[in-house]
Amino acid sequence: MEPESPAPEAPGGLPGPALELRAIDKRFGAVHANRAVSLSVARGSIHGLIGENGAGKSTLMNIVYGFHTADSGEIRVNGRRVVIGRPRDSIEAGIGMVHQHFMLVERFTVLENVVLGAEGGSLLGKGLAEARAGLARLGRDYGLDVPLDAETGHLPVGMQQRVEILKALHHRADILILDEPTSVLTPPEADQLFRMLALLRDQGKTVILVTHKLREIMAITDRVTVMRQGAVVHETATRDTTPRALAEQIVGRAVLLRVEKKPARPGPALLEVRNLEVRDRFGVPRVKGATFSLRAGEIVGIAGVSGNGQSELLEALSGIRRPSGGAILLGGRDIAGENVGPRDRRGLGIAHVPEDRLRMGVVGSFSAEDNSILGYEGRPEFSGGGILRRGAIRSGCERKMAAYDIRPPAPRLRITAFSGGNQQKVVMAREIDSKPSVLIVGQPTRGVDIGAIEFIHRRIVELRDAGKAVLVVSVELDEIMGLSDRILVMAGGEFVGEVSGEEANERTLGLMMAGVRGDPRK
């Protein structure tokens, strides 16, 4: 990095840009998470920060917000150097952060949540009253209407996100950092969020949008900074760039944004689901009467906003959760019962890549090689007479690492030391390598970098072309549309529509995801 240039005078009375980072450096042990990162964010702008998982965006923002402390470098707010050692320091400097996973107390009312951290004295009454007045004003100014006395946990996700934004504004934030804000929103909700952000910018607030979605960067930001391997590699005005150019900067080479595939040639149905009903542990039905079939040589995508029954459907299909009604027919045999658990289903040829890799797909404290046999440890190639075949496990893992370009190719390395994309490749390799006839994939590329996304998609298409059935559940519409031969839309636990892969577009899918039943062929 070059030595920093003196901050230019900005209009509006205050000197310098709203936020300026100079040569921020941060290491976690052997990982160099931020390499002399310098970044300047102009006041009253929306600045995009984009990069692969593990590129250092989150680390950088966590340093700005005070969750981490930089090893070296400085942070300037409005031209003045600030030392941020904990979140309180950054709040005082006028920085607010909306996290990907909301930091709200679900049982509190909206008002109580907003006041949290700025209660204004040991008795709540006065602070709450002042907050109520202040929030009414904020709501008017920015069009942020939220029922102040509703219990936060009962609000829809989009509304909860507004509460986070309100909270930041109430804490007098001038600089708002949003970390992957659209990952939990429907497309209409995302549009609404973007209108809100534009309004905030026009009122003089500064917004930093951390995302991995090119579409969002192009749609709303004024400037964009690309990070790769801990360093800033590119910065430009958004109007001067294209998605393709950005994608190449992100990955460091030319990439394919569309999935390349030949038309599907579906064969006979391998898996048939009839009238499936799944309840959660509180007895609430999450999947209501799902009926569909998976045919050989076909990728079926399930679109839907997260939390509309997709997870429960995946768990029922893979045998983790017992359905409360209906049938799952595999080659004519009903396997919906409890006595056909995940292990038996693997034996029958159903492989499952779970949605939440770290929660379910891998054991974080295990090495890559130990993770590469999870669920298959009893297979004769991995153990005999109960004793693990260490050599075979190691060489099998090495082979998979080579075939899937998993980096670093170190079977004994802890799985959490790999990037998200490489972790996912370990899981994909494990499941595809088990030679399944049906592959069930939840969120194939969540938290996966663009380069690896391309790779994973290609593997899924290859499996289809080999005559296997694939079910993909994803909240990424682009992914569903790019990958699927047939798309089913889930809302409120029901299938509300079906469209073919070619016919699908964001608008119709978005409407169906919001629960508007349409003629599926329109």
Binding site: G29, N62, G319, P342, R359, M360, V363, F366, I373, L374
Partner: protein, 368 residues
């Protein structure tokens, strides 16, 4: 985000426990100073008491054997994510199994009775662990609570049996009669004597070989079998276990049965190896020391072996100290042991973060 204070292995397994131990000894030294004795002299007395002579080494190793069994018991359960605090009760009931074999078949050949006693120790200990395990697996009763309760139940049961049923007729103290000659685990000095090596007499007996074998078996089981693999998956990430098709109920039951069986083996060392009869409260808290041993040994058999030696030495050296220093009484020794447990157990992490920061700074400037 990486957890704060992750250490390289050598520091985690070597330096950190050493630091904790030193801190405990330092504070113990201060207390000894406070009551007017010389800390240095006390330390020397303890070391001499634990390792100064053949018989004291024998005692140290005898106690260490107890701790290996109970430490392994805790470790196996911990690998499955289960906190078995019931080692004390399982050891006590395991001893009942040994004792019943010793009383019933004591006249038979030791080649039959000793293996039978070991099997009974494992079976009785496992059975005592089974009930809390079943309650946890099937009914969700918290195993920490139930195993603690089962320690009390074991204690009450054994008192009842020893006072009313097993007591040797015609005596006041609640002890059984002596086992027959077949139910005696040969002591090390006898065994060494047979091959011509003289060794001072002590209760150190061949159950220690059983403890070493248990270390090896536990290592193989945990890290080299598919069942151990399943156990660790469940312990580290129950959701992933569910995903992999590993039954939570079965894993809890299996881990607790093994854990209880290991704890039960303490009875082999104490009763077949040393006392040759059943007596009140023979585990003497070794079940609880096992928790500290497992913690300090990082739930690894090699670490448990080392930690057991340390606690064996503390136990034996402490007794010697109480014997030799006029102002140091039995409670004082318990205090020192308590401090070691406190620093190596409950306060295990106080030096972790500063040490990690220190190493990070030292390492960060040089290699990565």
């Amino acid at each position: 985000m990486s957890a704060p204070g992750r250490l390289p292995r050598w520091a985690d397994y070597g330096l950190l426990p050493l630091l904790n131990l030193c801190a405990a000894l330092l504070i113990s030294g201060l207390v000894i100073r406070l009551i007017g004795e010389s800390p240095w002299a006390a330390l020397k007395l303890m070391a001499a008491g634990a390792f100064g002579a053949q018989d004291s080494v024998g005692y140290t190793l005898f106690y260490a054997t107890d701790f290996v069994f109970t430490g392994l018991a805790v470790a196996v359960a911990v690998h499955a994510g289960v906190f078995n605090i019931g080692g004390e009760g399982q050891a006590y009931i395991g001893g009942l199994g040994v004792g019943l074999v010793g009383l019933a078949f004591g006249s038979w050949s030791p080649w039959i009775v000793v293996p039978l006693g070991i099997a009974a120790a494992c079976a009785f200990g496992a059975a005592w662990a089974f009930v809390p395990a079943w309650l946890q697996a099937r009914r969700g009763s918290h195993i920490v609570i139930t195993t603690i309760m089962f320690n009390f139940i074991a204690s009450a049961l054994m008192t009842y049996l020893l006072v009313n049923v097993l007591i040797k007729p015609g005596q006041q103290s609640p002890e059984s009669r002596e086992f027959g000659p077949g139910a005696v685990m040969p002591s090390v000095h006898q065994a060494l004597g047979m091959i011509g090596i003289p060794f001072a007499p002590s209760p150190f007996n061949l159950a220690s070989l059983l403890a070493l074998a248990a270390c090896l078996l536990v290592w193989v089981f945990i890290w080299r079998t598919r069942w151990g693999y399943a156990l660790r998956v469940f312990g580290q990430n129950p959701q992933a276990a569910l995903y992999a098709g590993i039954s939570p109920q079965r894993t809890i039951l299996v881990s607790m049965l093994i854990s209880g069986g290991l704890a039960g083996c303490l009875g082999v060392n104490e009763l077949m190896g040393s006392e040759h009869r059943i007596l009140l409260d023979f585990p003497g808290g070794a079940g609880f020391v096992g928790i500290a041993v497992a913690l300090m040994g990082r739930n690894h058999p090699a670490g448990i072996l080392a930690a057991s030696l340390l606690f064996g030495a503390l136990y034996q050296g402490g007794s010697q100290l109480a014997f030799d220093m006029p102002h140091v009484n039995r409670d004082m020794v318990v205090l020192i042991q308590g401090l070691v447990i406190l620093f190596c157990g409950a306060l295990e992490n106080i030096f972790r973060v500063p040490l990690a920061a220190l190493l990070c700074r030292a390492g960060g400037s040089g290699r990565t």
